[in-house]
């Protein structure tokens, strides 16, 4: 806390009493008194700053949730979509941030994804990998809550091998269906022409 305030002369004196060896008993008593006084001031200042900061974080941090399934405490998405919801009483607005990384241990910089009065947001088009979401609330008087507990999300898309097989299957079924209809139609027309 000392580093946060300018150090007046007696503070420097008091600091000297702690760091320097003082041999004279009378000076030692003075140093002790000043040191105690400064200690009390430090505590007092700490309390004042605490109260000030406390007023800034006057309301609870929002609770951030989503309805995806969890595995080891990490939410899992297979389509890159997450429907985030949050709430805290007395909030005028919220700020939602996202950190993303392809590797779990290397989150990138935090980006603000939403700032406004809504208490939910659907995030889509997320890359494969880990994403960390946090939200904080802002009250009408401008005070800001602490950040919510981070919500960790892992996006895993279908593996390339299975995807390829299903895409080929899809292509075959669609083309075969269209082909069967066109072939059937042409045969029907030919039969009608022959009958005519």
């Amino acid at each position: 806390m000392h580093s946060l305030v300018s150090a007046p002369k007696y503070w420097r004196f008091a600091r000297a009493s702690r760091t320097k060896a003082v041999t004279n008993p009378s000076r030692k008593a003075i140093y002790h008194f000043i040191s105690s006084f400064c200690f009390s001031r430090s505590v007092l200042t700490g309390l004042v700053w605490g109260a000030l900061l406390g007023s800034l974080f006057a309301f609870e941090a929002p609770t951030l949730t989503c309805e995806l399934q969890q595995e080891d405490g990490i939410y899992q998405s297979t389509d890159g979509v997450v429907d985030l919801k949050w709430h805290t009483d007395g909030a005028e607005a919220y700020e939602l941030t996202q950190q993303s990384s392809a590797q779990r241990i290397k989150y990138g910089l935090s980006e603000v994804r939403y700032h406004g009065p809504d208490a939910s947001s659907v995030r889509t088009g997320l890359n494969e990998g880990w994403h960390l979401f946090k939200v904080r609330a802002i009250a009408e008087d401008g005070s800001i809550s602490e950040w919510s507990e981070p919500l960790e999300l892992k996006v895993t898309y279908m593996n390339a091998g299975r995807l390829r097989v299903l895409l080929i299957l899809g292509g075959i079924v669609v083309l075969s269906t269209a082909g069967a209809i066109v072939h059937g139609h042409l045969s029907h027309r030919k039969r009608k022409e022959a009958e005519a």
């Binding site: 297979t78 890159g80 939403y114 079924v173 269209a178 209809i181 029907h188």
Partner: protein
């Protein structure tokens, strides 16, 4: 953003009641032509090209088109946007099928006629179970969507809104039969087409494409990725789901029977072409949500949220709610009325005659049609009350309807086939498709593909393994 209530409940009531009175009035007016059962069920088999194209296009624009197409673009990017538009190929490919249907069943009334003649009672029962699951799920999802949209846009309570939209559709279908459905579809199709394309155009005007591309690449990179697995698989999956929906459902067969002889293929082809840009326009608007600064809080409401934003930005703030409400109301009504009419026909023609063995005379027909239409409406209403997530049933019906694609093609064009293998293939395809839907290794975006593939293999095998001649094909 949350989709704000942009018009008051009283104004919402006025808009919906005025639209309802117009549709019911037109239903009564057009319904005067329906003097026989054929007139009521098939509009006298005399629908022309303009009405035929419009009714097919309007029916295919469901609440899914204006709600799910934007959701797919927003969650799966460019491939998702294109994937939904591939449902148009269902209509395009139904054009040649319609020629064949009219040729082999000149006096046909429902799809059930075809399945019963071609695959016997077992095939007919399999078809009825699948089509009823699909049709009722579709009808109920439309009703729920109607109630939710009215609640969101106008503040009208959900139960009041969904009752209102269902009552309006039941009334004009009841009075006018297919005449009323086709006529109202024509007007609704124009409103839908103009509304959605105008919103797509406004989005295009409000964004700088280069900057939008940069923003999406930065925050949602996979939306622009050419190899996004989910979207690539959705491409085939949705296309086959669309094929299954159109090829099997009585909504489309009844239109093929109702159009003049040479009109049906042209009408289906034109309707496919007209429908194609609608999900592209709706999807493009949704893809731009992030660059436009729209925070999507519910993916199912991506379309209306972006539409509201661009209309307000374009200076149409006061009328934004009206425009969205009218377009959505028309798209939902045009599907509910068609489903009510086609499902009632199926029950009247197939279930009463072949299950209950009741023969309905011309004199009793309108009364019976009324009872069946109201009953189906009541069933949809009862299922919509608890707001169950019945859209899951609709999505689950993807592999079910996809399993009918090849049996229909084979039944229409092939001379010899082993019916038992085909029916076994349909059941196997349904089971494997539903399994794939829930399997974490595959996922919903592969279910229809797997259903269609299994059924295709079995149907092709049925052509070669002890096939027997079928007497229907000329």
């Amino acid at each position: 953003m949350n989709l704000a209530v942009s018009i008051s409940p009283s104004t919402g009531w006025v808009v919906v009641i005025v639209l309802g009175i117009i549709w019911v009035g037109l239903g009564l007016w057009w319904g005067r032509k329906a003097k026989s059962s054929e007139g009521f069920m098939l509009a006298g088999r005399n629908i022309g090209l303009a009405l035929g194209s419009a009714t097919a296009m309007a029916t295919w624009v469901t609440s899914n088109t204006v709600m799910i197409a934007p959701k797919l673009a927003f969650t799966q990017g460019i491939w998702g946007m294109i994937a939904y538009s591939t449902a148009a190929f269902g209509l395009l490919l139904f054009a040649p099928l319609a020629i064949r249907i009219r040729s082999i069943l000149p006096k046909g009334v429902t799809t059930g006629d075809f399945f019963r003649e071609r695959y016997g009672m077992l095939g007919w029962v399999t078809f009825i179970v699948i089509t009823m699951i699909y049709s009722v799920a579709w009808l109920v999802t439309m009703t729920i969507a109607g109630g939710e949209i009215l609640a969101t846009l106008t503040g009208i309570p959900y139960h009041h809104g969904m009752t209102l939209i269902l009552v309006v559709c039941v009334l004009y279908t009841l009075f006018g039969g297919l005449y009323a459905v086709v006529g109202t579809d024509f007007i609704q199709s124009i409103i839908i087409l103009v509304g959605i394309l105008a919103i797509g155009f406004m989005v295009f005007n409000q964004i700088d494409v280069g900057s939008a591309h940069e923003k999406i690449s930065y925050a949602q990179p996979m939306l622009l990725c050419h190899a996004m697995p989910v979207a690539l698989l959705s491409f085939f999956n949705l296309m086959l789901f669309g094929f299954g929906e159109v090829f099997h459902n009585n909504v489309w067969w009844s239109r093929a029977f109702a159009m003049r002889n040479k009109v049906a293929p042209k009408a289906f082809f034109i309707s496919g072409l007209l429908w194609l840009p609608i999900p592209i326009a709706a999807g493009f608007a949704a893809l731009m949500a992030n660059p436009l600064g729209v925070n999507i809080t519910n993916a199912n409401q991506t379309g209306p949220m972006v539409a509201q934003h661009v209309l307000v930005e374009a200076g149409f703030g006061a009328v934004a709610g009206f425009v969205i409400l009218i377009v959505l109301f028309c798209s939902i009504a045009s599907s509910i009325d068609s489903l009510l009419a086609a499902t009632s026909d199926l029950v009247l023609n197939d279930v009463t005659e072949h299950v209950l063995h009741l023969k309905i005379s011309e004199a009793q027909f309108r009364k019976a049609a009324g009872i069946v239409t109201i009953s189906i409406g009541l069933l949809a209403w009862a299922l919509a009350i608890p707001r169950w997530p019945i859209e899951i049933v609709l999505y689950l019906s993807g592999p079910l309807v996809a399993s009918l694609i090849w049996p229909i093609i084979a039944g229409l064009y092939w001379q010899r086939i082993n019916g038992s293998i085909v029916i076994g293939g349909i059941i196997l395809a349904c089971v494997l498709g539903v399994w794939a839907y829930f399997s974490p290794s595959f996922g919903w975006f592969t279910a229809s593909l797997i259903g269609a593939a299994v059924s295709m293999i079995c149907t092709i095998a049925a052509r070669w393994i002890q096939p027997s001649a079928l007497n229907l094909i000329h």
